[in-house]
């Protein structure tokens, strides 16, 4: 027998309402923040996400990793904590030989027709000096095939990957939430049309859609955002639609209609704030998904342009690095991605718990 006695809520409401405190009520968001603060895992996750945000702000403004494309180390420079690579590489012994061969040469300046000009040329050549920077044998977290600093690449890649994920999630949320609100609130033929669109989009395998859009739009960040936004709105749509169907039949919306509130006012002033937590949480899950999708797309060669770096392109490069035993590029990309994605998911989870009015007071 599984009756659902509601005495717990009764006991709670009675104690909540009995002494009616005369202070101003906390808004929904403020009280959600207070509940969020109690969640220790959520707070740690939030701190990590904020740290990433700070890093991204720094790289975005050029304070950090501006010169990620410079070849500052020897190719495949190992991380500093491992020490320089062993000198048994084939290229290491080459520079000694030219001097020896010059000394052994016979003087042929008498018969050389160009001989009188050598001096002049040497003087002119001396006017140019090739600015060759000293090339480091090791880099803080190693270098890639071209000797670029993996750490700077990871920083820059974080900026690109996260901003792609975030922007795409915003696009998908805008599409999904507005279609969902439309379909859920009005229903009828408007709802049917949106539902057909949804069915068409979901009936095509996602990766094929990615390929199709990428083939049309070409490569680049804006393409990625567009592709993922245009294909990823379906989950958001379903959930927002369901929420709107549920809420549009609730008495407070009917009451708003009775006082003469227009359809728009009911949708956006009354219902939207009540489902905003659902949208927000769904959006943060989308961010995580899109970051992973970007990695896959870049790995497949459909992602960011060749002069840009993202976690995905780093993973793609590290495939060939790995054969040579150069693991650091793979490690840098995966660690920075894993930490961010985990922290972001945990944070989204904590927000869901904090914002859901149904869970209030039960924890």
């Amino acid at each position: 027998m599984s009756g659902a006695p509601d005495f717990v809520s009764t006991a709670m409401t009675s104690t909540l309402t009995d002494p009616l405190p005369m202070r101003r009520a906390d808004g929904v968001w403020r009280s959600a923040w207070r509940r969020f603060r109690r969640d220790r895992a959520g707070m740690v996750a939030l701190a990590i996400v904020l740290a990433y945000a700070l890093l991204i702000a720094c790289t975005g403004s050029g304070l950090l990793a501006r010169h990620w494309q410079d070849e500052v180390g020897v190719p495949d420079a190992p991380p500093s904590f491992l020490g320089a690579a062993a000198p048994d590489l084939p290229g290491a012994a080459v520079p000694a030989s030219p001097a020896a061969s010059v000394a052994a040469n016979v003087d042929i300046s008498d018969v050389d027709p160009l001989a009188p000009r050598y001096k002049e040329w040497n003087e002119r050549a001396a006017q140019y000096h090739a600015q060759s920077k000293p090339i480091a044998a090791t880099l803080p977290f190693g270098g890639d095939r071209l000797g670029r600093d993996v750490l700077s690449k990871a920083l820059k890649g974080t900026q690109i990957s996260v901003s792609v994920g975030l922007l795409a999630a915003i696009v998908a949320t805008l599409i999904g939430a507005s279609l969902g609100a439309l379909g859920g609130f009005f229903g009828g033929w408007a709802g049917d049309i949106v539902e057909w669109l949804y069915n068409v989009v979901t009936s095509v395998p996602e990766i094929l859609l990615f390929f199709a859009f990428a083939a049309v739009f070409g490569r680049g960040i804006s393409t990625l955002v567009l592709i993922m936004g245009l294909t990823g709105w379906t989950g958001q749509y379903r959930q927002v639609r369901a929420e709107f169907i549920k809420h549009s039949r609730r008495d407070y919306v009917r009451a708003a209609e009775a006082i003469g509130a227009s359809a728009g006012a009911r949708m956006f002033r009354h219902i939207l704030p009540n489902v905003s937590h659902v949208i927000l949480v769904r959006m943060s899950l989308l961010v995580v998904n899109f970051i992973k999708a970007e990695v896959i797309l870049s790995y497949l060669g459909l992602g960011v342009a060749t002069d840009q770096v993202s976690w995905g392109t780093m993973l793609l490069e590290s495939q060939s690095d790995l054969i040579l035993g150069h693991w650091w590029q793979l490690a840098a990309a995966t660690i920075s991605m894993a930490v961010f994605v985990t922290a972001f998911s945990l944070m989204a989870d904590a927000w869901r718990d904090a914002l859901d009015p149904k869970l209030r007071g039960q924890r």
Binding site: M1, S2, P5, D6, M12, R24, D26, S31, Y252, I259
Partner: protein, 586 residues
């Protein structure tokens, strides 16, 4: 007579976490040092009566140890000598369903929708009595016959959704009785059911109790129901026992002020007081030692100064109102479901029209149709609604907004009707902004404050959110919101059904005062004839979308013409045979 169950100084508290992360204890049963004590003797029905938050359900769940994990119990619960609070989990499992059985409020959610009735009744039999499959089925069939379900053999293979609410509750009772328990705990078993069904279930429980010599612990908020079924009553309030006694004593001569007030504030079929007694007033007077005899406080019936006058101007005239809904059938086809058919009535200024009927009778649809709160695509609408001479159903959408102002609605569930993310101030100011009432925002806010005062709330409430208010307070806010538009007609759709009796009395009084003051016309939709009796001048009885009977309240109650009306009147719980027998008993 020895007590089957003895509750001694029982206390229950819940550990809750508040927003700041501190945990606190909330006392649900018992206050301070004092817990509650009562006995359930063999072959007796004991009722626990109280309003919400009184701790009656928590008490019952504590007896069978079905409380959530954050509950702390102390005291003693002696079941034939064993202390149940200290019993092992295995022992409790053997006891529950076997010796002590429970029936809950909502049969729809208490039955498992994916198992057949037969399987569900057989489960306790096979588990506790170790009966074989075939034998269990035979027993289940006999039980179904005993609780009055026709064609029991066929019903065994049905699923819960194929039965009506009343039949589902009968199945729940059959399940509870399967192992022949000595104690049946019934937690508001009739509250979720229609009035006429309620009556049948009560009669069934009373019959089974007498036939089988059971003890029953009957939990209810309704003193009328309790008066009819119980032999002994325990009145609870805020976790404490206010009074104990036999039903006859308690109803004839209540000792406790709260019990007196609770008895007095119920609207009755037999009389129509000017105002209802309000519990808080009685308790306050009692405390200050100025208690008047209750009889002096409640004016004589029909000393009502405001007589509904037939010369009052007509506000609303409804003629042949019909509303249907399209139901999908097949792939593209649709069939018509007639929810309201050919309703006609005239409503005058300051009058109240009561609309009664069971669920599904179309009374709520009728109310919503008057306000045109149905989607036009949902189904055809016919008839005329003349409001000050304009046909509301023929109005262009642009004119509708102006008319909408004049008819307002208050919904049943005060927990649903207010937007949880709006402050009370926003809720009250919004309608005025939409209709351009008041010059500017500050003047609208001033008006909103005035309305809050008028409905008996502190204007400080402006800055709070709905969750900070109790049910009664929220209903006052909902009423204030409709009144901000100065309507002529207010549709009250079961507006007091979700409220406790004491709060219900306050809200009903408020509605009467507002009607006298503002000359409002009410359409009062309710399933409770006693409340309608208190409020309405005329009553319209609806059944299956049609008006069955429509007459003056007094005439209708005294001489009901239709069988259905008589059934409805007979279903109103009156308490034990009262000193002044009402016409309903006829």
């Amino acid at each position: 007579m020895t007590a089957l169950l003895k509750v001694e100084n029982l206390q229950v508290a819940f550990r809750l976490h508040d927003n700041d992360g501190r945990s606190r204890r909330v006392e649900a049963v018992g206050r301070g040092e004092h817990g509650i004590s009562f006995d359930v003797p063999a072959n007796t029905t004991v009722a626990l009566v109280g309003e919400s938050g009184s701790g009656k359900s928590v008490t019952a769940m504590a007896l069978v140890q079905l409380l959530p994990r954050n509950a702390e119990c102390s005291g003693r619960v002696l079941w034939r000598g064993d202390d149940l609070l200290r019993a092992s989990r295995a022992h409790m499992q053997r006891l529950r369903g076997h010796e002590i059985a429970c029936v809950f409020q909502d049969p729809m959610s208490s039955l498992n929708p994916v198992l057949t009735i037969g399987e569900q009744i057989a489960e306790p039999l096979r588990k506790h009595l170790l009966v074989g499959r075939a034998a269990a089925r035979t027993r289940a069939e006999a039980l179904l016959a005993e609780v009055g379900i026709p064609e029991p053999k066929r019903r065994l293979d049905m699923y819960p959704h194929q039965l009506s609410g009343g039949q589902q509750q009968r199945v729940m009772i059959a399940m509870a009785l399967a192992c022949e328990p000595q104690l049946l705990i019934a937690d508001e078993p009739t509250t979720a059911l229609d009035v006429t069904i309620q009556r049948q279930i009560l009669e069934l429980l009373a019959r089974l109790q007498a036939q089988r010599g059971l003890s029953m612990l009957f939990i209810s908020h309704d003193l009328g129901v309790v008066g009819e079924i119980a032999q002994q009553v325990v009145v609870m309030r805020q976790g404490t026992v206010r009074e104990r006694g036999t039903v006859v004593e308690l109803f004839a001569d209540p000792k406790d002020a709260y019990t007196k007030a609770l008895l007095a504030c119920r609207p009755r079929l037999a009389e129509r007081p000017r105002r209802l007694t309000v519990i808080d007033d009685v308790l306050a007077d009692e405390a200050s030692g100025m208690a008047l005899p209750l009889a002096m406080r409640v004016p004589e019936p029909d000393s009502n100064p405001r007589r509904a006058d037939d010369d009052d101007p007509v506000v609303l005239q409804v003629d042949g109102l019909s509303k249907s809904f399209w139901l999908r059938s097949g792939l593209l086809g649709r069939s018509e479901f007639k929810a309201v058919q050919d309703v006609r009535f005239t409503l005058r200024r300051g009058h109240t029209l009561g609309v009664v009927g069971e669920s599904g009778s179309g009374k709520t649809t009728m109310g919503l149709t008057l306000l045109r709160l149905h989607d036009a695509a949902s189904g055809p609408l016919a008839g005329r609604v003349l409001f000050h001479g304009h046909d509301l159903l023929a109005l262009a959408p642009a004119d509708r907004l102006a008319m909408r102002r004049r008819i307002q609605i208050v919904f049943q569930n005060p927990y649903e009707a207010l937007n949880p993310r709006f402050t009370i101030g926003q809720t009250l100011v919004e309608p005025m902004t939409i209709h351009g009432i008041g010059m500017d925002a500050p003047s609208r806010e001033r008006r909103a404050r005035d309305w809050l005062l008028r409905v008996g709330l502190d204007p400080e409430a402006m800055h709070k959110y709905p969750h900070e208010f109790s049910g009664g307070q929220r209903q006052r806010i909902a009423i204030a919101r409709s009144l901000t538009l100065s309507p002529d007609v207010l549709v009250l759709d079961e507006a007091v059904a979700a409220l406790d009796v004491s709060v219900q009395a306050q809200v009903l009084n408020l509605l009467k005062d507002l009607q006298d003051e503002l000359g409002l016309a009410y359409i009062f939709i309710s399933h409770d004839l006693a409340v309608v009796r208190f409020m309405a001048d005329d009553v319209m009885v609806m059944k299956d979308g049609r008006v069955v009977e429509h007459r003056r309240t007094e005439t209708l109650l005294a001489h009901p013409q239709e069988e259905y009306t008589r059934r409805l009147i007979g279903a109103v719980a009156q308490g034990p045979a009262s000193p002044s027998p009402s016409p309903a008993k006829a």
